[in-house]
Structure formats: structure tokens, C-alpha cells
């Protein structure tokens, strides 16, 4: 198979700087050489390819936009988005790993942490020496995290944490968990280290989606963490939501990678699969399907590119990100299902990436705010009425 050349119907290439193109190409080559050859096996076995962590760190995809002094690249949001796009062309699980490490662990430490926390954790997280996770969702509080019951209490030697988190990406393998808990009724962020007494992170089994990513529970039973492990600048649920905005931004770009993967696969297949007298690509209904996917890729690319500019100029609002996350995830999932149809029975085989992407995208559409929640966020913004309480 010839190396992946990208999907660029509108010459978006022309909008990219030389560095941005280099980032895209470097991550693209990495995905071809390091991820695609091993991902199906990991997916089938339900294992996370841990050997990639060090390599991803060397490539520099953790904390892309953070300063050099922490070992990061200090790049703009176009580069960050392109890196997520390319990684997700490989697999949403690998992109999820990078998103969590960067947007949900490094970002909150950078944004809400003390100087000591930043100096200690950020270089190790950037170098992949330490792995992080982000614990917000609870068994009874998903779309409504503000209702969380995990509690923190000030005690003589620090904070006492009690509660449980669920659906936590990287939980079992994480050295450090960013745990959100209520302290005197207000949501705050805390750093809980692996091995702390009373803290465990068993893996959740039985997923049919994101199988190459680890998802865990976090159990906190009378866990005492030192005083200096609170993220001092966290101030209510909005701090957690700021982290989600970073990650959602990356997802909006990431799923375009999934769309490109399924489009590339379906187009190649359609051109060579002959039924009746012609390749199936010659039939109008197949063409309509391919055009639909290409059309959605192109729209999402332009949307993302402008979103990046808004973010770089600090003009971005959370509802902009909601619109992009909502649209792109929904269209990516539709694209994957349509691409599967083009391949007929072959579409369900692991020889092609489509079914894996399709199953992954079910999670991606749900986490970081479901489709419905993003509808409600935008709906509230445009009407002035909150559709939820």
C-alpha cells in the first residue's frame, strides 16, 4: 500500500505554514510506521500499545502548545490540531491517550498548578516518563458533573478524599490522577499519585469501542494527599470545563483523521471492486456516498482551521468548540457507517480500518460532552434559555 497522502479537496495545504506542514507530515509518517502495523492486534486483544508512549513523547505530541521550559514545543493550535488529526487517523484510542495526557493533565497543571507542581510534573509528562489521567465523571454523574459526590476534606496533614470515578481513560496505568472533588461544596482539582493508600484504579472490561485504550474506575477510600497536592488555582466546575474545552478542541480535529482513514479505504476499495460490469465506484449511489464523506471532511477541515485561528487569537468561546465537536463527531460517525456500506461484507473485517473507527467514534461522540449536551450548550447561547438545569 502506498503511504497515506491526506485528503485535501480545497487546497487547505495552502493555508498552512511550513512548520505546520512539517508537523502534519511527521506525525503522519509516524502513524504509518508505528501505529497502523500494530493497532488492529491491540484493538482485538483489548490492549493499549504502551510501547508507543515513549515514541510519542520523542515525537513531541504531549503538551504541544506549552512552553519550551517544560520540554514542550510551544506550537500554535493549528499544529496541535493537525497532530491530533493525524494520530486519530491511526486510532481514536491513541489520540485519546495524547489528549488526556496533554489537555486533561498537563493543561490543568499548567493552568491551575503551583510553580512547584509545574516544574515537577510537566517535564516528566512531556517526556512520557509519567502518565496522567483525569477523573471527573462518576457512576451517577456523567453529563451533569456538577452533581459529583466525591468529596475532599481539609485534615491536619493535607486533604482527605472519598468517592469514586468511572470511565477514566488511562486510569490503571496513570502515575498521577487529576481528581475533581468538592471541598466545602466547591469543585476543586487534586493530584493523587499512584500507590497512595486507599486509592486504586481497576480497569473496566467489556468495551466494544476504544479497545486500544485503557478505561478505568478510580476508587478513593479515605485517601490522604499532602497539602501541596491541591491545584491551588482551581475554582469551581468551570476549571474542569476549561480542561474539557482543550480536549474537545483536539477531538474536533481528531475525528477528521478518522474520516480521512475511512474515506481513503472506501475510495480505494470502490475503485477496484467490480460487481456486475463495472467497479462499484462507477455506480451513482456509491459516488454519492463517497462525495458525502469528502464533503463532510472538507467542511470539518475548514471549520477546524478557523477554530484554530480563533483559539490562537484568544477569541474562542466554549460554544464555538461545542459546535465543532458536535458537528465533526456526528459526521465522522456517519462517514464511518457509510464507508462500511461501500465495502460490503469486507467492511466488517479487521483488514480494513473502518469498523474499528466506527466503533471508536461511538465513544468519541459521547465523551467530552455528548452530542445532546453540546446541542444544549449552543441552544442556550443562541436562545438565552438553558435547556437543562
Amino acid at each position: 500500500m502506498s503511504p497515506f497522502k491526506g485528503v485535501d479537496y480545497f487546497n487547505i495545504e495552502a493555508l498552512l505554514s511550513e512548520e505546520e506542514k512539517m508537523v502534519r507530515d511527521s506525525v503522519r509518517n509516524f502513524v504509518d510506521d508505528q501505529i497502523l502495523p500494530i493497532i488492529e492486534k491491540n484493538y482485538q486483544n483489548g490492549t493499549f500499545p504502551a510501547e508507543l508512549v515513549q515514541k510519542l513523547a520523542e515525537l513531541g505530541v504531549f503538551g504541544i502548545t506549552l512552553p519550551e521550559k517544560y520540554g514542550c514545543a510551544n506550537m500554535n493550535n493549528v499544529a496541535y490540531g493537525l497532530a491530533m488529526q493525524e494520530l486519530e487517523r491511526g486510532d481514536s484510542g491513541v489520540r485519546s491517550f495524547a489528549s488526556v495526557q496533554s489537555s486533561l493533565v498537563m493543561y490543568p497543571i499548567f493552568e491551575f498548578g503551583s510553580e512547584e507542581q509545574k516544574d515537577f510534573w510537566l517535564p516528566k509528562l512531556a517526556a512520557g516518563e509519567k502518565i496522567g489521567c483525569f477523573g471527573l465523571t462518576e457512576p451517577d454523574f456523567g453529563s451533569n458533573p456538577g452533581g459529583m459526590v466525591t468529596k475532599a476534606k481539609k485534615v491536619a496533614d493535607g486533604y482527605l478524599l472519598n468517592g469514586a470515578k468511572m470511565w477514566i481513560t488511562n486510569g490503571t496505568i496513570a502515575d498521577i490522577a487529576v481528581v475533581w472533588a468538592k471541598l466545602e461544596g466547591k469543585v476543586r482539582g487534586f493530584l493523587v499519585e499512584k500507590g497512595t493508600k486507599g486509592f486504586s484504579a481497576p480497569e473496566m472490561k467489556g468495551k466494544h469501542s476504544l479497545r486500544a485504550s485503557i478505561t478505568s474506575e478510580l476508587i478513593l477510600q479515605d485517601v490522604v494527599i499532602p497539602e501541596e497536592n491541591i491545584l491551588p488555582k482551581t475554582d469551581g466546575l468551570k476549571s474542569a470545563l476549561m480542561c474539557l474545552n482543550q480536549a474537545r478542541y483536539g477531538i474536533a480535529w481528531g475525528v477528521v483523521g478518522s474520516m480521512m482513514a475511512v474515506y481513503d479505504s472506501a475510495l480505494n476499495y470502490a475503485q477496484s471492486r467490480v460487481q456486475f460490469s463495472k467497479p462499484i465506484a462507477a455506480y451513482q449511489m456509491t459516488q454519492e456516498k463517497l462525495v458525502f464523506i469528502l464533503n463532510e471532511i472538507t467542511k470539518a477541515q475548514l471549520l477546524n482551521f478557523h477554530l484554530a485561528k480563533l483559539k490562537d487569537n484568544n477569541e474562542i468561546k466554549h460554544y464555538h468548540i461545542s459546535l465543532a465537536k458536535r458537528n465533526n463527531c456526528e459526521k465522522a460517525l456517519e462517514a464511518a457507517r457509510i464507508a462500511r456500506e461501500i465495502l460490503g461484507a469486507n467492511g466488517i473485517l479487521d483488514e480494513y480500518p473502518i469498523m474499528r473507527h466506527s466503533a471508536n467514534l461511538e465513544s468519541v461522540k459521547t465523551y467530552e460532552g455528548t452530542h445532546e449536551m453540546h446541542t444544549l450548550i449552543i441552544g442556550e447561547h443562541i436562545t438565552g434559555f438553558a435547556g437543562y438545569d
Binding site: 512539517m22 511527521s26 520523542e58 515525537l59 513531541g60 514545543a73 510551544n74
Partner: protein, 249 residues
Amino acid sequence: MKIIVCVSHVPDTATKINLGADGKSIDNNGVTFVVNPYDEYAIEEALKTKESLGEGEVIAISVGPEVNKETIKKALAMGVDRGILLKDENPRDSLAVAKALADEIKQEGAELVFFGKQSVDYDNSVVGQMTAELLGFNSVSVVVDFKLDGTNIVAEREIEGGREVVETSLPAIITAQKGLNEPRYASLKGIMAAKKKPIDEKPAAEAKSYVEVVEMKRPAPKAAGKIVGSDASAVPELVRLLREEAKVI
């Protein structure tokens, strides 16, 4: 130690090439250019050598038009310290390229130079060796293993059906073959660092080209195949055709 790596900017082997209007060149429209793949092994080996010595400087040099800077930048992003573009907007033959490189290598005073074993555009596979000859350097081509100990070199080169071990010494030119190493990816930090690294630009030393491209042609389209049969009974007829018609056995 100062180490030089010579890099060329070539059409991606996966792009479809169209002929230019003059019938002597390719039409660059819509063609993606990349670092010559064999040069990536050369860059990696230069960087590895510097790293194992714990000191030194790696310089990437390219002869050609302004756009070759893209390839130099890629080398800088991989970790090369600085670049030199020996500028010439007109095409040169291999010897004229080698002369420009030899001239610059002499000025830089470098004693170890890496090349790719060939450039995948014209596939002449000679620039490294010609440069060595012009400079009076030792040269080892098609290298798959390289060791430097002081000024002594032990290199393994690929030959028909096996490998040959060559011992030589600095000053030397090494041309890299696939398998020499695993070229690193340009990391995001490397790409940012490259923005601050200098690329020196100067005219390539004057040199006459002795080889002129007179015409470029597409290979003749393949004739349709012939299916002689689908089971063992077709073998005698197949053998007859291979012998009498195709004259290959």
C-alpha cells in the same frame, strides 16, 4: 568534529509525474517534493555519529534552486545544526553538482561527509563518489553499517548476494543505503528549533555540465497480457510462447 551531509530535494516517488512542455524536464505542477529517501539515512548517520562523539556540528548542504531549502529545513528539524544552499536555478549534471559540493566541503574543512547512495530523481548514483574523487577523500558506497573509531572507519557495504566489509580512514565520504539505520522523525520541538537555525545561501561554484538532457519520454505503455489457459494443460503452450514469442527462456 564537523560532519557534512549532502541532501537533495526530489519528487515524491508516489506522485504521478508529467512531462514539461519542453519535453526535457518534468512538470513540477502538483508534484510533492521530499527529502531524497536515501539522504534520510545519511542525515540519521551523521546525527548518530555526532551524538556518539558527544561533540561536533552537522551541516546539511544542498545544490539547487531556492525550493531546496525545504529539504534543508527538514534536515534541520531532524537535528542538523545548520544548512547551506548552494544556489543554482538551472539544472546541473552530476559532475557539476559534485564540483559545487567539493568546493564547499573544502572551504568548511570537513573530513566526514555522508550522502544517500543515490538520488531518486535521476538515479545516477555517482555524486558521492565523484565528490570524493574531486577532494581526494576515501569513499565507501552503498553502506549498511558504519563505525568510526578515531580516524578509522569500518563500513559494511551491500554487494551482489552479500556484504563486504571495508576498512578505511578519514577523510571519507560515505553513501548510505536503506538499512543503515532508522531515520528519526522530525519532532515537534525539532521543527520549532529549526526555525532559529541558519541557512547560509550562496551561489554554487561555477561548473560546466557535460551531460545534457535531450529528451524525456514516458515508457511505452504495457501491451495487454495474454491468458493462455487456467490449468496444467496450458503449460506446454505457455512454455512454447515464452520461448518462441517472448524469447525469454
